[in-house]
Amino acid sequence: MLAGRDVRDYEIKTLRDSVAVVLQKNVLFSGTIEENLKWGKKDATLEEIEKVCAIACCSEFISKFKDGYDTYIDQGGTNLSGGQKQRLCIARALLKSPKIIILDDSTSAVDTKTEAMIRQSFRQFIPKVTKIIIAQRISSIEDCDRVLVLDNGEISDFDTPQNLLKHNQIYQEIYYSQVKGSVSDE
């Protein structure tokens, strides 16, 4: 159900245009950075591009490239690091100005500090957009409104992170293995 309507009722183009997905397997195409970003919006202005790049924390590394937004990306994005690719993919998705953005494990190669900055700017610049975050790291989802815990294809729980930490065993296990687990080693 999307906005109270079965997703199957939507025309597929309309549906995909209003939902932005950043996939686990990032694909950038051969072409300049600008051309790649414009996949999100064909007629995007430089201003719009700069804005989404700022949100996705790409501006810094792009400005370090000699050719900036005209830097040519090789097939498969081999001249970029995993984290840079992921951030460009996020920027590309943001350019669609979606109603819903799905981030499917899309910051796994971004370091935690940059990731935190991305989340920070998400809150600041696109507060009204529904964000669905699929993540491995607890730190990626700690500030979510509600967390869906899945176990072998079944929903185990759907609650705020705080409540989950109190009640849900799976969530606790994951939480402690990542956050507190290492602390208790000492």
Binding site: R16, G82, A116
Partner: protein
């Protein structure tokens, strides 16, 4: 041999393995061409000596005529037989040569440094194997034999014609010169487009490959129309180039053919008038001459047509040889890794079987140095592209058994450090020592055998899980593979698969989750039992439920080994002996967790930032 003309190199390929067959082919071509010419020349004799005397006789005796016709048939039959022989053998030779070339290409490609694959689009490389070898096939199996047979025929026909009439022969030479001039002009035009076409084919291939890879992204961004449009542009270019190439190629035939007919008619008229006015020529000679004229122009025509396919094939050969000339990864290190046994006196003795204990062997003095896993970087500078330094003055060491964590933002140079340890690239400055030995002196295969790598992008091959695990160590038994899977905690999910260890992995493990792929990579690495391991963000995408198991498995794996962990999750590296913080290719901090926390530097920022930036 490196800078020879591609045609010469190609000929060398052909002559190397097929000397006998080539000899037979060559002889067969010559005999068949001569039979052909002789048959046509024989017509003169047939008419003048066997037919003309019979004209107007009351009771002609045909016996001698039949005999002559019989011999003519025999001559033609020999020609046909020879043609069959050389055509048949040419197939053997051309396919054999191509197989050899493909084998050599692949074998050479395997020796190339990683840098080559960084710099060249994969679609282009694939096109060398598919399109360029196909162009070669056409040249070897058709163009070259055609050329030889045409040249022999033309020479034989020319001599025969000279023997019949010098004056008429000169006329033919004049006509043929015009033909060749036209052919050359059109051929050049056509060659330009053929070359352009080859290039566009490679572009189209690369584009299709890229779009297939990114199909999901295309759909998510509803970018189908745009992708199609871009494809249309490329496809249009391919269409234009192919069309133009073929237009020119196709008009050569009729133009040349018509000039040929014109020459024929002129010869017929001139020959006829010569015969009538001067009696220099007999009827038979004219008939024979005309037949030779047809053959002569036809073969010149055929010869000129080979121009294109040969030019095309040579361009392909050039690219193929370029790949083959690409400098192999240098492997000049003499020091090798050998299995050893510890003797009672504590000294090592080389062993020819797997012992689980290894030593570096210096071939100059047969000294054996125990493989411990001590790694040292000394003033290392490195750049992928000249002038853009990725690493600057790196000093770092790892004592055997230590766990070293590499921390830093993306692009700080962590993965580069791992690449350098494997000697995938040469250093710009400084050195890397492995157990006190400069890695440049170590044979690369042995160096890499002693390093376990679990990369961020796991690559699996189309084969069963068992075979994929065995990539770690070729001679491992099934039991050893299973034990390694157990160590990496990969056994649980493998056993749940319908075919267990015999499950076939396809398409780089598309049928497995990323976590499962990584587990396999860890198991594969465990099998080799390397003293040094590099875990490149190994846990970044293992699903969280199994992460604890994985962590345990990895901890078991890390025991007693030197380990470099490239991680983003700071919690997983807190127990490392040393944490090295990289920024812009420089080491800015080093120490254990407590030291670095006290320093309140970058690490402190990263660590606290990860948990407190909320």
């Amino acid at each position: 041999m490196s800078k020879k003309h591609p045609l010469l190199r190609l000929l060398k390929y052909i002559t190397q393995r097929f000397k006998k067959q080539l000899f037979v082919i060559f002889i067969a071509i010559i005999i068949s061409s001569i039979c052909h010419v002789y048959g046509q020349l024989f017509l003169q004799v047939l008419i003048d000596e066997y037919i003309t005397p019979l004209i107007g006789q009351q009771n002609p005796i045909y016996t001698s005529l039949y005999q002559a016709i019989f011999w003519m048939a025999v001559i033609y039959l020999i020609g046909v037989l020879m043609t069959w022989i050389y055509s048949r053998l040419t197939v053997n030779v051309s396919q054999g040569v191509l197989k050899q070339i493909r084998d050599d290409m692949f074998q050479h490609m395997e020796t190339l440094p990683i840098r080559y694959f960084d710099d060249n689009p994969h679609g282009d490389i694939m096109s060398y194997y598919i399109n360029d070898t196909d162009a070669l096939r056409e040249m070897i199996s058709q163009s070259i034999p055609n050329c030889v047979s045409n040249v022999v025929f033309i020479l034989a026909a020319f001599i025969s014609m000279l023997s019949l009439n010098v004056y008429l022969t000169m006329m033919i030479v004049f006509g043929v010169s015009i033909m060749l001039f036209v052919a050359r002009y059109i051929g050049r035009k056509s060659a330009i487009y053929f070359n352009a076409r080859e290039k566009t084919v490679a572009e189209v291939n690369a584009y299709i490959e890229e779009m297939m890879d990114g199909q999901k992204v295309v759909q998510v961004f509803t970018h189908e129309e745009e992708s199609k449009k871009k494809f249309d542009v490329l496809n249009e270019k391919l269409y234009e180039n192919t069309k133009n190439a073929n237009i020119y190629a196709n008009i050569i035939m009729p133009i040349m053919g018509n000039i040929g007919y014109l020459v024929y008619v002129v010869i017929a008229i001139l020959g006829g008038s010569l015969a009538i006015q001067t009696g220099m020529l007999s009827i038979g000679a004219i008939a024979s001459f005309l037949l030779l004229t047809r053959g002569f122009t036809m073969h010149i025509n055929q010869l000129s047509q080979q121009y294109n396919s040969i030019a095309l094939a040579l361009a392909g050969a050039n690219r193929i040889f370029e790949l083959m000339d690409e400098e192999s990864e240098k492997n000049e290190g003499k020091i090798t890794l050998v299995n050893v046994l510890r003797q009672e006196d504590g000294l090592f003795k080389q062993s020819s079987t797997y012992t689980g204990l290894w030593a570096w062997k210096n071939p100059e003095n047969n000294e054996l140095i125990e493989l411990k896993g001590d790694i040292r970087f000394q003033n290392v500078d490195f750049s992928y592209v000249k002038g853009k330094k990725v690493l600057k003055d790196i000093h770092l060491y790892a004592n055997p058994g230590e766990k070293i964590a590499l921390v830093g933002a993306t692009g700080a140079g962590k993965t580069t450090l791992a690449n350098l340890m494997n000697h995938f690239y040469d250093l710009e400055k400084g050195s890397i020592l492995y157990d006190g030995i400069n890695i440049e002196d170590i044979n690369k295969n042995d160096l890499r055998k002693s390093l376990g790598m679990v990369l961020q992008d796991v690559h699996l091959f189309t084969a069963t899980i068992m075979e994929n695990l065995r990539y770690g160590r070729k001679d491992a038994s099934d039991e050893e593979c299973i034990a390694a899977a157990r160590l990496a905690n990969a056994d649980k999910f493998i056993e749940k698969l319908p075919n267990g260890y015999n499950t076939i992995i396809t398409d780089n493990g598309e049928n497995l989750s990323q976590g499962q792929r990584q587990l396999l990579a860890i198991a594969r690495c465990a099998l080799n039992n390397p003293p040094v391991m590099i875990l490149d963000e190994a846990t970044s995408s293992i699903d969280t439920r199994t992460e604890k198991d994985v962590q345990e498995g990895m901890d078991k794996l890390m025991e007693g080994r030197t380990v470099f962990v490239i991680a983003h999750r700071l919690s997983t590296i807190r127990n490392a002996e040393a944490i090295i913080v990289l920024e812009n290719g420089k080491i800015i901090e080093r120490g254990n967790h407590e030291d670095l926390m006290k320093q309140k530097g970058k690490y402190y920022e990263l660590y606290t930032g990860a948990f407190e930036l909320e």
